[in-house]
């Protein structure tokens, strides 16, 4: 039957669980289990007359809680042109400053990997700005730079790959959060509620891209927000803004003339770990098969 077929399908299964959650939420029997939506809450309030806190209409309209930014009309996406990245790490430093990420060599919202193939070796040597050799090449721990470590080697092939949160269509990190502290907004950004996060780090484990880190200062998980505070003000994310070679591209997929739409149209793009079914929304051009 079509139902069993649907269940086989990954998206269908998610839909079924979501539906189950909505049904649960509307019955008083298991309130608080499953997905609670605005509609299901209203329905629950109507059917059982439990005093659900009524939303202040003016503060939380359907167009989103950020005035002047209708999140139902946007679908943000990110592009990375690997062929243009020069590994200068300006994006990494800008991200740290912009988002107050602790200045240490482990915690990053975005990072850059370097893949180097040496003559006679089959596998790439991969390092990031966190590699001890690269940290030593920089002047201070607050300063990032790729060292010239392969100066005397015979390099057959080398390239840089910038990475960040993929803001998946079906984010596994959101699925595992036990308290609803991380969520996906209608405009396609996965956010973390810093005040509500209990610091269990389950989401850090769940992310297949390693995009999340645990912030020891705030004792909460943190990750890339595509600079939500900037994009809702009409600016580009800080890393996109500072990139001197336009290796990072950002825009609205619903706008056919936006940078990202043009980028996707004019390049043969791919995504990282497409087989996970997460639906990553960071699109790469020139990605080598080795990169995952």
């Amino acid at each position: 039957m079509s139902e069993t077929k649907l269940l086989k399908d990954q998206a269908g299964r998610r839909g079924f669980i979501s539906l189950l959650g909505k049904v649960c939420a509307t019955t008083a029997m298991c309130s608080g289990v499953g997905t609670v939506t605005l509609e299901s809450l209203k329905a629950a309030a109507a059917s059982t007359s439990t005093p659900v806190p009524t939303p202040a209409k003016a503060e939380f309209p359907a167009s989103g809680p950020v005035p002047g930014n209708d999140w139902t009309k946007r679908r943000w996406a990110f592009g990375v042109d690997v062929t243009r990245c020069i590994g200068c790490l300006r994006c990494v430093e800008a991200c740290k400053v912009e988002n107050k990420v602790p200045f240490n060599p482990q915690d990053f919202r975005t990072w850059v990997e370097r893949y180097v193939y040496l003559d006679g070796e089959d596998n790439a040597r991969v390092d990031t700005q966190s590699d001890p050799v690269n940290i030593a090449a920089a002047d201070s721990p607050q300063d990032y730079r790729f060292s010239n470590r392969y100066r005397n080697e015979k390099v057959t092939k080398a390239f840089f790959v910038p990475k960040l949160c993929n803001h998946c269509e079906n984010p596994p990190c959101v699925q595992v959060c036990p308290v609803g502290a991380t969520y996906k907004t209608p405009d396609g950004v996965v956010l973390i509620d810093e005040k509500y996060c209990i610091g269990c780090r389950y989401c850090v484990q769940a992310c297949p891209y390693g995009a999340r880190y645990f912030n020891e200062e705030t004792q909460t998980t943190d990750k890339c927000t595509w600079c939500y505070h900037r994009i809702t003000k009409g600016l580009k994310p800080a890393c996109v803004d500072v990139c001197p070679t336009q290796a990072r591209i950002f825009g609205d997929l619903n706008d056919a003339s936006s940078d990202i739409s043009v980028f996707i149209k004019s390049h043969r793009i791919s995504v990282l770990k497409a087989w996970t079914g997460n639906g990553p929304h960071v699109f790469y051009n020139g990605l080598d098969g080795e990169v995952s």
Binding site: S31, T50, V97, E98, G180, V242, P244
Partner: protein, 251 residues
């Protein structure tokens, strides 16, 4: 109903009531308006102040630097990539910042040899389109700003197009001669043009040639033929070919 069953049901009912009461009391006010999260947190996140500003924010305060920057090859490098952020001295760039400037918002970057190499050092993986240097042999221990205007690095601080550092020995005139084969079809094999509309290049001043080629390359000087030629040249190519023509005899 037996007494023990009644007790059990009472206890269950009390727990159920406690659960429901807790469920009503504890979740934050805006929880669940848009989904299984606190709706107010979206606004909290969006309310943060951007630290990286548009270069236009600094144009009024630094008109001279802004003019040099916005007309030069470095216009893709925004102010705060090199200068300290308005976020204050806790930033990465603070370590590169001297106390030379009067403005706390945008002080001068003091140590260029640590700053410029972040993009321009020749390392494995850096694509060829990026101008790259072997730091030690290129700078010979000098600060980058000894020759380059950091706001427009193809020019010196005095606004003169950059020629090769120090002696002419650094310029590869042989390489320039090889490249000049392309020029010969219009400008003549000896740098003397046979056609009236094409200028002679032999004996032309080197800084002038560098400036012209650089402007053709950037598009500041528009010419369908020279624009195409100049775009295929690297900075070193321009220096070499200019040095070659400048060194030819004047006839």
């Amino acid at each position: 109903m037996p007494k023990h069953i009644r007790r059990l049901l009472t206890i269950l009912a009390v727990f159920a009531m406690l659960f429901v009461a807790g469920k009503i009391y504890f979740p934050p006010k805006s929880f669940g308006i848009y989904g299984h999260y606190r709706a107010a947190s979206v606004g909290d996140i969006a309310a943060a102040h951007p630290a990286y500003l548009s270069p236009d924010s600094f144009s009024a305060e630094y008109p001279k630097e802004f003019a040099a920057w916005s007309s030069g090859i470095h216009k893709v490098v925004k102010c705060q990539i090199c200068h300290t952020s308005v976020a204050g001295p806790t930033t990465a760039m603070a370590s590169l910042v001297g106390a030379a400037s009067a403005s706390p918002a945008l002080p001068a970057a003091a140590d260029y040899r640590r700053l410029c190499v972040k993009c321009h050092e020749k390392i494995a993986g850096r694509p060829d389109f990026m101008p790259q240097i072997e730091v030690d042999s290129h700078s010979q221990g000098q600060a980058c700003t000894a020759c380059h205007n950091p706001h427009s690095p193809l020019f010196s601080n005095a606004g003169i197009p950059i020629s090769a550092p120090g002696s002419a020995g650094i310029v590869d005139i042989a390489a320039g001669k090889k490249l000049s084969a392309t020029c010969a079809s219009c400008h003549g094999p000896e740098g003397v043009s046979a056609i009236a509309m094409f200028p002679n290049l032999a004996c032309q001043k080197q800084p002038y040639l560098i400036g012209a080629l650089t402007e053709y390359q950037s598009g500041k000087r528009a010419n369908p033929i020279m624009g195409g030629v100049a775009k295929s040249l690297t900075t070193a190519d321009i220096q070499n070919v200019s040095a070659y023509f400048a060194g030819m005899s004047c006839r």
